[in-house]
Amino acid sequence: MARKNTKFLLFFTAICLPLITIISPDWLKINGISPCWPVIWLLPFSLKNGPWRSSIAAIFLGIFMDSFTLDKVSFVPSLLLLSLAWGQYGLYNKNLKLLFNIGLMAIFGTVFVGLSIWIQKIILYGDLRNDWFNSWSIYVLISEVIITGLVAPFFSSWLLLAYKKD
């Protein structure tokens, strides 16, 4: 029964992920920037399921999230690498100190995803190789890291606890 509930929770939260990205409530923003929701969802999943299953989930999640953004810049490469790293970490560290560890890992994950988007944009658009864009990117990255670091300990810990009950 518990296994069935966990599967339902997994499916439900994955389906809700794009919806919360579209709705992007103002009270969950810093400087108009929302948390990095794919990182918040992928982190507990990877810690629980190991590198291979989580890397497949990361590819699916990346493709899913790319549906709701504008151009050719993709979440897939960064999420794939993060899922492998977190999956490996989860295999060897079964007893995580939830709040602190998860918050810190989400912060590193958000930095990695942000850097990946930043670099992809610079590669795709030659005109963005200037200080105006770079300073704006730093501003977005810092805001995203702060809000994800604040939100992740609650959402990701809750998801991880739900998986562990299984």
């Binding site: 709705i23 992007s24 151009d71 810049v73």
Partner: protein
Amino acid sequence: MIKTRRKIGFYLLFKSGFWLIFIFGTLLFGIRWTKGAGYLDLYAVLVNPILPGAAQREWIKEGENIENNIRLKLLEEDNNRLRNALSLKDFNSDQRISAAVISRSSRSWWQQLEINKGAKNGILKGQTVIGPGGLIGLVDSTTLLTSRVRLLTDPGHKVGVWVNRTKSHGILTGMGTNRPKLIFLNKNPLVKIGDAVTTSPASTLLPPHLTIGIVQFVDEKALPSPYAIVQLTASPEAIDWVQVLKK
């Protein structure tokens, strides 16, 4: 007993759960292919009852009056200059579709709006989207009930523009901030701080003389070409209703 190939195939398809992964994969790629159309349509239907009402429209009309005055002045100048010489592209004000903003991402990595009118209402990719203050962006994609608008501020987004006072052309490139970069096509644009930037009267892609912004900073000595920083007159962060101009 050794299973026949047919039986193994049957086992793989129906008993091992492979069909579930196949259906899930197909569904996922379907969503990716349609750019999340089902989600957006569902969301548009859900938020329809709580969209802003008449007060919001009055506020938009006030903004429109200011914008129309600027546009009228520009059109008169343009008509005098080009009288009997050129037949310019123009747009009919009846060909406007009002739409509400149902989702906004105007400050993050992707700067876009989702509006509650789509292909069903005759909106097509590439159409112009305006709000109080002038041009906001272009339609990037549509679903049956919604459209995704790429804002002028989105990093890498390029639009051809024109500074009316000096008659100089340039390309406005989004930098993420509310101040896009205007790269001039000629070496001596003679543009000053405070000049109005509009869409080009010779453009075949955009309607002419839509207000875009005001020049805030100019670097005429920059290489390979001079550039200016433009403060946009329309602020996507505060706009709940927009208008899509039909071509």
